[in-house]
Symmetry: C2
Subunit: 137 residues, 2 copies
C-alpha cells in the first residue's frame, strides 16, 4: 500500500474525511519533521493547492490536534509549531539560531509523584539553550 493510501486510511480511522487539503497537510507534516509553523505549511502547499486558504490550514491543524494526529508545540513565544511525530520526545530550542530539535526522552525515568493528584494527559518538555552548531565561535 502506498503512502497516499496509508495517509487516507489513517485519517479515516480517526473520523477525518480525507479531503485534498487535509491529506496534503498531513503528508507535509509526515515528510517535514522540522516542526513547521502554519505559515510555513501554507506557503509550501500554495504551489500545489492554488486555492488553499490559511484558514483551512488553521482549521485542519486544529482538527488534527483534536483527533490526536499531530501535536502542537508551544516552545516559541509567538507562534505554534506542529509535529506529526507522536513518539515520546522533548524539544530543544536554540536561543541563537532559533532552530528546534527533537531529543530522546524516557518518561519512565522521571519521578512524577508530584503529579499523583492529577490525571496527566499530555507532557511537554521544552528546553532552551545553545545547539552544537552555535557553540563553536
Amino acid at each position: 500500500m502506498d503512502l497516499d493510501q496509508r495517509i487516507k486510511d489513517k485519517m479515516m480511522k480517526n473520523n477525518i474525511r480525507p479531503s485534498m487539503p487535509r491529506t496534503r497537510i498531513y503528508k507535509y507534516l509526515l515528510e517535514h519533521r522540522n516542526h513547521p509553523t502554519v505559515d510555513t505549511i501554507y506557503k509550501a502547499l500554495q504551489s500545489e493547492l492554488f486555492s488553499l486558504s490559511k484558514t483551512t490550514v488553521y482549521n485542519t491543524l486544529a482538527l488534527f490536534t483534536d483527533k490526536g494526529l499531530v501535536r502542537a508545540i508551544g516552545i516559541e513565544d509567538k507562534e505554534l509549531r506542529y509535529d506529526a511525530d507522536l513518539h515520546t520526545h522533548g524539544h530543544f530550542k536554540c536561543v541563537k539560531c532559533h532552530a528546534i530539535f527533537d531529543f530522546e526522552l524516557d518518561l519512565d525515568t522521571i519521578n512524577l509523584q508530584g503529579l499523583s493528584q492529577f490525571i496527566a494527559e499530555d507532557y511537554h518538555l521544552n528546553v532552551k539553550g545553545v545547539c552544537r552548531n552555535c557553540q563553536e565561535v
Copy 2:
C-alpha cells in the same frame, strides 16, 4: 530586615534600579504564586500605582526575566504567565478549569542524555490534564 528592603536589595544585586513600579511588581509576584498574567498584575496594581502603564508591566517583566528574577511560563495558548518561584518545578494546566498548578520535579531523576549535544539553560515541563477538583463529576 523587612520584606521591602529585601526586595530592594535583591533587585540592586541584579543591577535593577528599585523604582516604585518595579518593586511593587516584584512584590506582587512574590506574594501571588498563582502565575499571574500581565493583565492580572496590571489590574491589581492600578489601585496603588495610579499612573501605572501596562507597557511598564511588560517592560518590567521582560527585564526581570532577562535578569533571572522571574520565569515566563508558556503553558497557555495565548498569554504568558509569570513566576517568581525559581526552584525547579513543573507546571500542570487543568484543561477543564484552566488553573495552573505547580508540581514537584526532580530533574536529576530524568535521563537526559538525549540532550548531551546541547547546552541546556532552561527547562520547562508543562503537563496538561484534569486536576483533582475537576475529576469529581
